[in-house]
Structures are given as C-alpha cells and as structure tokens.
C-alpha cells in the first residue's frame, strides 16, 4: 500500500501544484521520485509530529494541499490535539497518512501497533476516515482525497499486501465497494483485512454458505444507504478490521445499528481485543493471537448455521 501511495501522490502532484508532502522522518527512499520532481514540495519535518501537523494546517490556510506522512500512531494519536484544533476545527484540506496501521508493524512492538487510531479520530468533526482494502483502493482513495476540500485521514497498511481488485472499481468517499456478491452472510471489511474477509467467504462457500464481501473503506462518513440495504437483506452481518472492536468500524456500525427501529440482525464485530500485545511476532502471528484469521472468523460464523 505504501508503494502505491508514493507512486500515486507523485502522479497527482504533477497535475496539482498545491500538493506538498510533509514527512515525519520516515519513508527512506520511498519518495525519491517525488523529491526528484518536486524538490521544493517535500519536507522532512523530523521527529516532531505536533509541529508537522500544525504546520500542515498553516499551509492549508495559505491554499496548499499538505499531506502528512509517518507511522500511524505517531501521525494520529501523538498529535491528536493538533489534528482536532488546527486541522478539524478550521476544517482544512490536510491529508493525514498513517502507514503501518493496525498490526502491520507487529514485530516492532506495542509502540508501533495502532489499534485505536480510528476510534480517536472518528469523534472529530469534519474529518473523513478512509481505510483502503488494497493497493488499488489506495490509489483511488488518494485521487478522491486530493479533490476533497476538508480533512482526510487515510489509513494504510505496509507493503506487498495481496491485491484484491483485478480492475479499478468505482470509488467514492463514503460509498462501500461490493467485492463479492452473496446472499446469506455479509462481511463489512475495512482496510488491510480485506483479504481475510475474502478468504473467510471462500471457506463459508465450501460449506454452502453464500457470503457477500464489502470493502467498507470509509468509516466516516458512514455509508448509511448501503448499511440500510445490507441490514434489510442479510440476517448475519460481521465487521472486520485490524483495529480494536472498541470504536472502529464495528463500533461505528453498532452505534448506527442501535439507532435503527427494527433490530433483528445478528451483528458480529471482529477486530483486536482490549489488550496490548506483549509477545514478539509478525503481523500474521499477531493476527492469530487476537483471533483475526479466516479460520477463527469462519468458526464463529458457521455456528449461526449449525
């Protein structure tokens, strides 16, 4: 995803001279092309995310389109108040990129895990939160984000994630993408767990259970129209995210669901638990530790049909 981001932002910057990248001393070599083409529009802001975020706000006030880039926990909750006051309160077009979201950098330890960023940013007025499901969605989300005249948080994984979309789907901020059509179960997946949703759907299919998979890339604003339709059509619905079950897409949809007059659906929320991880391991291992695997999700869902 991060390579798709670097390549796409470079292309977009060729057509849009308002784009400026502010990096928090990360992305070694990743932005070489960008720096080569636009040496005056790339700034390594050092390990100083509070300053970087407020600077981005100041630049947006002057008509530029700043993109802040660093590892997710440092570009979100480290500078949360700067995002709230300087970016969101002023409703400015700043694009905040979190790279290595969720458990992407699991091996680096708890300081580098980011399973609470969606929850903390979701309460801020004016911001849009997009979690692309694969590299194709990263490019599409970025194209939409630069046209958006208000704050956007783009939550990326790392690199070399499976590409789900064989061709470019229709993309609009706030509109979920149906990846697989089905009739019995619906997965609402956000971000880098899209391959898990697809794999689980195939496990269920082997058992004769037809599963719809939606890349529910935008968490804010919620795609109410799609949710209304899904909750009318499916009895069993599950949210998937590499984020805490508290406050992420699961939380957002549960909040919406509790406001609905007729609540007969079974809503499962799959995500990380309310615990820190204290043991070493890569993303795959960390996902196993928290039960975010196709096998585990399959086991829970299949019980609805036994």
């Amino acid at each position: 995803m991060r390579n798709a981001f670097a390549s796409e932002i470079t292309s977009l910057a060729k057509k849009n001279d308002r784009i400026v990248i502010l990096s928090g001393d990360i992305g070694n070599r990743l932005f070489d092309k960008f720096k080569e083409y636009f040496p005056d529009r790339f700034f390594n802001c050092g390990v100083a995310e509070a300053n970087m975020t407020s600077m981005a706000a100041g630049m947006a006030m002057c008509g530029l389109l700043p993109v802040t880039y660093t590892i997710t926990p440092f570009n979100t909750i480290r500078c949360l108040e700067q995002i709230k006051v300087d970016v969101c309160y002023h409703n400015l077009p700043v694009i905040i990129i979190g790279v290595g979201s969720g458990l992407s950098y699991a091996g680096l330890g708890g300081t580098h895990h980011s399973c609470e960023d969606i929850a903390l940013l979701r309460v801020l007025p004016n911001i849009k939160i997009i979690c692309p499901g694969d590299a194709v969605e990263v490019r599409l989300a970025l194209r939409s984000a630069v046209k958006n005249n208000s704050p956007v948080y783009l939550r990326l994984g790392k690199k070399n994630e499976p590409v789900i979309h064989k061709e470019e789907p229709f993309f609009e901020i706030g509109k979920g993408i149906t990846v697989i059509k089905g009739t019995q179960v619906c997965f609402l997946s956000t971000g880098n767990v899209l391959p898990i949703a697809v794999k689980t759907a195939s496990l269920l299919k082997e058992q004769g259970i037809s599963t719809q998979v939606i890349s529910f890339h935008t968490i804010k604003p919620l795609d109410i129209e799609l949710l209304t339709q899904i909750f009318k059509t499916f009895k069993v619905i599950a949210t998937l995210e590499e984020h805490s079950c508290i406050g992420g897409i699961g939380g957002a949809i549960a909040e919406w669901f509790s406001d609905q007059p007729c609540r007969k659906n079974k809503l499962y929320r799959f995500g990380t638990s309310d615990n820190f991880i204290h043991r070493s391991g890569n993303q795959e291992n960390a996902r196993k530790m928290v039960g975010l695997t196709p096998e585990n999700i399959f086991k829970k869902i299949i019980m609805e049909f036994n």
Partner: protein, 272 residues
Amino acid sequence: MNSISELEVIAKKIRGKIVEMSYKSRAAHLGSSLSCVDILVAAYWAALSIDPKNPYDPNRDRFILSKGHAASAIYTTLAFKGFFAEDILDSYASIGSCLEEHPGPKCVPGIEAATGSLGHGLSIGIGMGLSCRIQKQSYKVYVLLSDGECNEGSVWEAAMFASAHSLENIVSIVDFNKWQATGRSCEIMALQPLKKKWEAFGWSVYETDGHDIGSLANILTNIPDGSDKPVAVIAHTVKGKGISFMEDDNNWHYRIPTQEEVIMSKKELGLL
C-alpha cells in the same frame, strides 16, 4: 505612519476597552491581555503590511495570537484598526457572540487562526511562512506567544524547524510577563535563560522592553533582519500593565474588575 505618542494613546484606549469588556462579560485573562497591548499596537500600527478592507489578500502579512487567552486584546486591536465594527466588541463573550473567550476560526476578519490551546500558533505560522516561500510571495508572519506557553514542547519543535529552513520571514514574539496561570514562569519551569534558548535554537534574538512601542516598532519593521535566521523578540512586559493595582499581580489572571475598578482604571489611563 502615526507618531509614537499617538500609538501610546491608542494603546491606552485599547487597555480601557479591554478592562471594560472583562467587566461586562465577566471574562478572565485581563492581566494577560493588558501585558501584550503595546506589542499589538507596534505590530498592527507600525509593522504589519495589511489592509483591513482587504483582510484576505494572499500577500498580506500574518499575525497569529498564539496566546489565545489574550483574545480581548486582539479583538480590540482589530476593531480599532478597522477590521470590523467597534460595536461588535460589546458582544464579547456574551451568549451567541462571534467573539468567544478564545478566538474561533475566522470568527472576525483579521483572526488568522483559532488559538487557545497553547503551543500551536508558532507551528501554524511556520506553515504559513513556508507556504510564502513555496508560492514565491513576500509576506511576513508574526506570532505572539506567552512565556508560559514556552512550556509546550511543540514550541521548540517549531523553533528547530524554522531555523533549519532559515525562515527569515518568521517573527516569534514572547510576551515575557514573568507569570503563568498559577505561578512565576521562571520557577514552574526552567524558562531562563530565554534569550540564550532561542539563540541556541538558531534564531536571531532581540530583547526589549515590551511596553516601549518605539523599540518594538524598530525591531518588528526590520524583518528579515539580514541574519538569514527567523527572528525572536523577547519582550519584557508586566502582567496587568497600565493599571497600577493590577500590575504584576497574578490574581488578575482570573479576577474580574468591579465597576469601581473599571472607573479607577479608566482614570489612570486618562480616559475619564
């Protein structure tokens, strides 16, 4: 341009107005507002290239009140300068007013950024200063900080960035009134030596009496100063300046004047 004595009269009128506004609205931070009035007058009447009738000119100089709790001082300054009608000041901090106790985004023309949470303004200003360079313009950005605000780590993040990029169009003015909300600013944190700190962070530093409008005007009009560095001004001020019974008394960080005290204040300022 006005003479210094004319500017001193304007400063007195601003002080009278903000004492009255605190009394009417029962809003705090009077001492903090009074300490920075002369800085505001020097900036707005002598240094800034701005046109109140064209407040969004892309090439205007910017002024950010990073110490947003001195809102009554900047509102009064802007109104007296002609950015908006003076009678709007009478609504300050009353229900439904656009003039909150800390300035909101674009609350009135002339307010460049919403402030109130300390340690944000300098970074915003540096973002503007950098934009000026990218967009090949020539404006300057003035940011007014409080001494207590220098507790915030983000101020020093900003300071390091600005000097690394030789942003000579940035001016950081510290209203050094020696107090913060609940104690002496040099005791709560090791603020001193403040001048050496800014110098060590790569800034061109001036130290001055923050109530000497002539001296402030000289410094603030000489930007860039030829050093190829951003400029910091340590303005030594007195909290509550201009009203004898408020001067250097930190109770006036939160105290609201009585009607009698408003009258006494105005008499001292020569406004009655």
